[in-house]
Subunit: 320 residues, 2 copies
Amino acid sequence: MSGVRPTGRAHLGHLLGMLMPSAELARADNDAFYEVADLHAFTTGFADPDAIRAAREELVIDWLAAGLDPKRATLFVQSAIPEITELHTLLSMVTPLSWLERVPTYKDQIDALGGDIMTYGFLGYPLLQLCDIAVFRGEAVPVGKDQVAHLEFGREVVRRFNHLYGDTLVEPRALLSEYPAVPGSDGRKMSKSYHNTIDLADDEATTIKKVRGYFTDPQKLRRNDPGRPEICPVFALHHLSNAARVPQIRETCASGELGCVACKSELAETLNAFLRPVRERRAAIDRSRVAEILADGNARAREVANATLRDVSRAMRLTD
Amino acid sequence: MSGVRPTGRAHLGHLLGMLMPSAELARADNDAFYEVADLHAFTTGFADPDAIRAAREELVIDWLAAGLDPKRATLFVQSAIPEITELHTLLSMVTPLSWLERVPTYKDQIDALGGDIMTYGFLGYPLLQLCDIAVFRGEAVPVGKDQVAHLEFGREVVRRFNHLYGDTLVEPRALLSEYPAVPGSDGRKMSKSYHNTIDLADDEATTIKKVRGYFTDPQKLRRNDPGRPEICPVFALHHLSNAARVPQIRETCASGELGCVACKSELAETLNAFLRPVRERRAAIDRSRVAEILADGNARAREVANATLRDVSRAMRLTD
């Protein structure tokens, strides 16, 4: 089980950290659930519902482009599964407020986004995330390091529920992603909010231009100056699309033999080659299929969610 | 629209403050909704789901005994209407956390119940209350003074939602209850948690015994001592069941002519007379009808709730 917030165009970081691993997992396991987490997008993006709506379709297309086979995985929209919100309200009754306030990302986000963003739903973000998982009895959740605390919180809530009302929910475990952080053009983590991304929807010329704009070692001003590859984001990207050449690039950058212009040209070429099949699949997708894929996925997801809610309601003595 | 938490046996305070006014309103208005607020009971009673379940049926019986006609009002169970919880999660995204933290009853309850009780759902209590109302497009809500702040909070959330997504929800207004506070045997507000109640389910002998146990003016020790009716809870109760005799009782108590024993006997007799029709209806109710009444009410309530959620989803651009 995994979910992604529809907040805009997917970039290389999403592709490597999330979309391709999802497609991989779905190939290995026919019982995978992938969620377009539109309600989560409302926790920060509530003022622009049209943007969230438009990004929903884009996210599905990005997943398909990354190789996800909708026949082998259940691809669905969070807001189409009311059982998730029902579980969210039910679990809110047994979730100590202090557990939510202690989730480390919560305080980080307040600092990053400012106090204005603070809604009741934003505070409950990790609980809603647990409901996404628990309603499908999700056992394994591919996450990055920053999400491990959310999952640990979710496991505690499940244990508390099962302790109060009997074994009903499944404790999800984290599948830590092996993919390295993907640096953006300014050397920081690639992120839409930093405007430093290489997007799946970019064409090859745009990719070349963006790679040319990457920060490099500031002490390497001319071709023959020795470089420090370990601090250079361009060198880091070579690991992703040009792994075989990494030892030689390290050596010739450090010696000064390899200039940044040539190094970037080579990176752009390999990145474009790596992204080409994804971009070709993306361009070939019949957008009219998206609604059909989601309708099918939503129906499958609701069936599972409904069965879980029946058990939860019985456990809480709301129904017989 | 009105809701009551199923937390145990109804007492005279419930009857006068809530159950009888509900029955009255339903007679005047065929479009009234009455909710057995079982999810609200979980905000504090989550550790004992069996008690909440048992109290659900009792509450319906109390309402029927108070004269509520289930044909003229929609009587339903909160947890059977998942649209309420769906709306709760959706509105959580636009509800500033600070608005919930500022609701006066929130801090009062923390002080009264201690920090342990503090769950995410408890903090969201006034928001869930708004959803109970808004999902039925409730226009008028009979409330006591302590609930006015909740309703004002709810009106603000509705205005914020309508401002963000277009006019969709109705701002509910408070119908302030005219009934006076009903004192319990110790002179404090009648409340289950103070163990000072006269219950609908009590028989007449128990009522007489409980009235005998009421506090009276501590300076009036003997029959001929002058009393201070204005501080006496027994005198306050005479207003409810024995209004015609109030002037004379005030006078003869103050002069010392009327002793407390005689005064209490008279009160017990009039209270039993007042409660007799309610108790008779209560005893005559066929308990097997309760499930049927609720199934019928739940179906009617869901139809209205579903239509509201369709509008809310469209307004938030979650559906077309």
